[in-house]
Symmetry: C2
Amino acid sequence: MSKPTPLSGFPEWLPPQRAIEQYVVDRIRSTFELYGFAPLETRAVEPLDQLLRKGETSKEVYVLRRLQAAEDASDESLGLHFDLTVPFARYVLENAGKLTFPFRRYQIQKVWRGERPQEGRYREFLQADIDIVDRDTLPFHYEAEIPLVIGDALGALPIPQIRIQVNNRKVCEGFYRGLGLTDPEAALRAVDKLDKIGPDKVAELLIETAGATDSQAKACLRLAEISAPDTSFDAAVRALGVEHPLLDEGLDELVRVMEAAAEHAPGLCVAELKIARGLDYYTGTVYETQLVGFERFGSICSGGRYDNLASTGNERFPGVGISIGVSRLLGLLFGADALSVSRPVPTCVLVALPTEEQRAACDRTAAALRRRGIATEVSPSAAKYGKQIRFAERRGIPYVWFPGSDGAHDTVKDIRSGDQVDADAATWTPPAADLRQQVTGG
Amino acid sequence: MSKPTPLSGFPEWLPPQRAIEQYVVDRIRSTFELYGFAPLETRAVEPLDQLLRKGETSKEVYVLRRLQAAEDASDESLGLHFDLTVPFARYVLENAGKLTFPFRRYQIQKVWRGERPQEGRYREFLQADIDIVDRDTLPFHYEAEIPLVIGDALGALPIPQIRIQVNNRKVCEGFYRGLGLTDPEAALRAVDKLDKIGPDKVAELLIETAGATDSQAKACLRLAEISAPDTSFDAAVRALGVEHPLLDEGLDELVRVMEAAAEHAPGLCVAELKIARGLDYYTGTVYETQLVGFERFGSICSGGRYDNLASTGNERFPGVGISIGVSRLLGLLFGADALSVSRPVPTCVLVALPTEEQRAACDRTAAALRRRGIATEVSPSAAKYGKQIRFAERRGIPYVWFPGSDGAHDTVKDIRSGDQVDADAATWTPPAADLRQQVTGG
């Protein structure tokens, strides 16, 4: 066959990048589990009617068909999931009788969207989601907990500082209703475009699509301008003179989210009243997340509170969740050369091979090191030692182990410093920093 | 919407099962890394022509199409991969200039096959593969290493003992050629059906499709009957009186595989000369793996040596690899109730909530425990303590933490034994067995 070429939008990492991805996913997982989120996976496919419940995303779905005619039709009309929230809502409804509520789960899986690829936008990408759902009603305090989990999960990584932008749909809807607007969703959709098209165009949209007067449109824009690292947004909104019970409720909730964040992680959250999240299903707090210094990348972690995603005729499971765009985050940081790994392979020690006849003895040395958690390979061939050392160098393996000949001790050499010492495979331990691959920023 | 129902062939685990799967995958990964295999992932899709290179599997492929007409055609003619070997071979060719050889990688991903679902056979399932590939030539000793890695990886799990059945394609081909058969591949395909259709039907097939005489067919069956837990198969084959240089080479290699296994892991491997592996691309050692006591399940881990999977006009990358059928293994063991987890959630401690006003203080306690690696949740509500304890019981959380009131010490209660002791969130540590979920057999 001829040499294959990459597929646009379907990123694949080289081994050092994949090592970094694995490290990042492991750290995120570990934080999620510390907060009691249980791991979950759903199948990659959903029935098309399930995927198309929100008309907006229909264009993004990849549909499956069997290459040859099927004996049975049970896998017809299936599409690849485009996020992890819709499959999770379906999973909760399907298994509600076997779950305990409030149910906390994390889910780290690939998703697929048939979009035009561009920087940081892929057709296949990895997401890491957490959600908390409850039966009938979901206590508000979980909306304050979600950003703290993300602060800890992303804060444990060698990546730039994050800033979670928080808003509450009730603030927007209550404000619009208090102004006298009758189609708050249309107003929200218009304001959602603020960063893309600017205030003048948003004002026009508000007038055209949400039936706003000129002064109502201006008030909506003044609300969207409000941004605060603390709870001072509350006074700023009230100073605009609009009143509505839903606005009061939303402001109280947003204050509580900001207070919890200030106590747990000062500087993590900012109240940003222009944040709307395009998706229709959010009903309370909404989140977007910027990397400080890389704001041009857009949000790398978004979500919010939803009330109607998982419901049948007689059951309702409101929830709150957030999704880290792992591929997006890594693709952007790789592009900026902002992450590196100490070595591309897990291997800490290469056991050198004096002659092919000694392979069994060298395998025993390797097994002794592995039993104590030290990742070890035996040299591919009994080439001259200089060549074996160069092999270790090329692979990034820091230590080469030399079997002692004629009763002499084995020795181990740090090939970076050249230091070589006597060693016993039953007791020698590398420095902690060399035991596993280390990921660092920059 | 109405209550959703499961999709045949697309298994999804409940939280306790998923916890077991996660544990199993983590252990397998950890062993792979101890042997210096680097993590890798490939995209889920391959160009159809790549997937259809082996005609046999064409019926199994799921093809993608965009739901709506595309602006560009760059994602036309893509299918979901049906194994991890074909994508890996493509990855090696595509990135050869950026890899160091011999290249060792592991890959744990879902694969898809449009087959009719049945017990232990899925349309979407998880595989865990290792492969070692080299440029131009691959030293034989890697064929002896692969079963040792699997022995360690699966041996570290609380599952029934495994037995790796080993054979060598050169033994079969050399034997068939030594007998005078001119189409050894047809003979191999016939013998491959031995367990399914029995020796009489295989003899008929050998005569019909491989041009064998009656006595040649009998000789082929006698070879296939040979099975030995040690290197005694060598004499048994030579006693059949067939000679061919390729047979000698194959027997020598199979002896070396069995010797390495006997030294490293007595009882792990058995030479089983009927093992053929249907796939055309194997050229040397082949492996299948049985669970002792569950032989009826068939092979849960298979692979072999291949020489021609990754090659372009001027480059060739021979390799050897093996694939653990993780979903298949777990599905069968779940069906036999042969695995259990100590609790379905990661959470070790539930912090009880005296009143909603004390949530911030309880969050601080939880944060202190998490900082020391103890997975902790705060109670969903300030219900009566009895109700909060029952919530912990339902979730399987072993410890409930009670904030001290009026200057009294905090206490922590093991709700299984009822033992309750004074505790400080900065120092208290649960027994090691309770810190994380434990997976056990039976």
